[in-house]
């Protein structure tokens, strides 16, 4: 068996204070296996007693080379890799990727598919915030939150299973539309959720929002200023809790978000508690969007009929020679994309999820880069936790809402 090596101080020398070298402060590993790091994250902490002097995040434990793997697959087949990045936001990842491909090859999406995408992505946003809220409660010893949040999340995952056959790794949104039309039970399932969820949000608020045990541990810590957030590239609810009104759904509407009436919650405090309040309000706004989208869900096709990029429906293959050729070409060779690159971004539950995609004239991408929001959001954590207790670090880290699959890719 190999011997465990003592931690190598040399490589962190430029990041820690002088006092750590003399032994006055202590270097402590938090993670990679630790319940409150929300995944496989290692934090090297320099501690003065209980107080954090420096924090050095060490990431990459979940690095699976998704971007490299995507270069070896056709545009259609690379999409399954996107599910596995941010596993709390699979529909959102699919959307970011398919929108980038659609922009690269200039492909249209029928209105029904756009509305379905909006409904599913907003459901996913709620599910993602539910997981955050549940685990956040766990971190701060509010055990019951976790059970309630996962009860509601289950209902959303059931809807995903209904439409795509999968609870998490959906790959339901495809370039040019969605995989297939939703079943008739879909509308009722979503309406049921819309009916019960507002009451459930009130329940969560009763449990947490005014709860002194929760508020005392959250309010006034981990202050993130507007300037620091922008400089570090922090986006999403974290940025909006720091007083910046920036939501890509409003600023650069995609998939018909401009037709829906919703507000963007913005708070100016920038502390951990503000980040919690922003997310609670986002629940309500997402419900509004889903309701409007469901009310005016248009009928019609759910896939583009541009056969150079979108496979023909199964029923056509038996009767049309052309459809058979298209089917064969698309699933063996794939479609060709121009030798150019584009960047397209969507608002994921965690912030700006951007995709830089470059074609090389052939059926495989030259480069796919996923600009994942958790990566930049985690980069700011060392600044936030300085001078706070280790117990505060747990609350601050939870409030940033990181997903390690999203960071390590």
């Amino acid at each position: 068996m190999t011997q465990l090596q003592p931690a190598n101080v040399e490589q962190y020398k430029h990041l820690i204070s002088e006092r750590a070298l003399t032994g006055e402060t202590m270097l402590l590993n938090m993670g990679p296996q630790h319940p409150s790091t929300h995944g496989v994250l290692r934090l090297v902490l320099e501690l003065d007693g209980e107080i954090v002097v420096n924090c050095i995040p060490d990431i990459g434990f979940l690095h699976t080379g998704v971007e490299k793997n995507m270069e070896a697959k056709t545009f259609h087949k690379a999409e399954v890799m996107t599910d596995r990045l941010d596993y709390m936001n699979t529909m959102g990842n699919n959307l970011a990727y398919v929108m980038a491909v659609e922009k690269l090859v200039d492909l249209d999406v029928p209105p029904r598919a756009q509305a379905l995408r909006v409904i599913l992505v907003e459901l996913q946003r709620i599910a993602s915030h539910l997981v955050l809220l549940g685990t956040w409660g766990l971190d701060l010893a509010a055990m019951s939150m976790f059970l309630y949040c996962f009860r509601e999340r289950e209902q959303i995952l059931d809807i995903f299973e209904l439409v795509s056959g999968q609870r998490m790794m959906t790959t339901y949104l495809r370039p040019g539309g969605v995989w297939r039309d939703v079943p008739v039970e879909f509308e009722k399932a979503v309406r049921d959720f819309l009916k019960i969820f507002p009451k459930r949000i009130d329940e969560y608020e009763k449990l947490l929002t005014k709860n002194p045990l929760f508020v005392d541990r959250m309010a006034g810590i981990g202050h993130l200023s507007k300037e620091m957030a922008l400089s570090y590239g922090v986006t999403g609810p974290n940025l909006r809790a720091s007083g910046v009104n920036w939501d890509l759904r409003k600023a650069r509407p995609y998939m018909g978000y401009e037709q829906y009436d919703f507000d963007v919650p913005v708070l100016t405090e920038g502390d951990t508690y503000a980040r919690y309040l922003v997310r609670i309000e986002e629940f309500r706004q997402s419900l509004r969007i889903i309701e409007q989208a469901l009310d005016k869900l248009p009928m019609g096709p759910v896939r583009s009929d541009n056969r150079k990029f979108v496979p023909p429906p199964r029923s056509e293959i038996g009767v049309s020679m052309e459809a058979l050729i298209h089917h064969f070409k698309l699933w063996t060779e794939g479609f060709h994309a121009p030798n150019a690159s584009i960047y397209s971004a969507v608002e994921s539950p965690r912030g700006e999820l951007g995709v830089l995609i470059a074609g090389d004239g052939g059926p495989k991408p030259r480069r796919v880069h996923m600009r994942t929001p958790s990566f930049d959001n985690l980069a700011v954590v060392p600044e936030l936790v300085k001078g706070y207790l280790v117990a505060d670090l747990v609350a601050i880290l939870a409030s940033i809402d990181i997903v390690l699959g999203d960071i390590d890719r």
Binding site: S231, H369, R371
Partner: protein, 170 residues
Amino acid sequence: MEKSLEPIVKVLQEKFGATFEEFRGEVQCMVKPEHIIEALTTLRDAHHFELLSMLSAIDYFPQTSPRFHVIYQLNSLEKNLTLQLRVPVEGESPKLPTSTGVFKTGLWREREVFDMFGIEFEAHPDPRRILNPDEIEGHPLRRDFPLGYEEPQFSFNYEEIDLGKPYAKE
């Protein structure tokens, strides 16, 4: 191109000799490596581009000059504009000045570009690898870095492949 973006691109053209391309309504400005920090500073201070949302690179192997494009995606929240700066860099082990003095985004994103492409950022405060282990040789997202694979073990070749595996044997 959007009307409000035109004067900004013009400034970049006159001051830094930038060229620009447009593709699907997206503006991509080519800036020389020696001008990038100045260009970023100008855009941030004079034109309200306060959010650097993406910093990454593309490898155009086997093309060698330029082999890489380092890409900076800038956003102006006030005017709701977005602009892409691209820096073509030459050769096998290229160097660029660090942008961490202008945007802190570079603290981690430049480490990622170095880790994946081997583009060095001079005077970066923390120039370590970030996602890959320190022991790895080469830079995985370069196009000439093999994807790698593992030969599947079946009953007929189980022993043979097992011998070559790196884990400790009893």
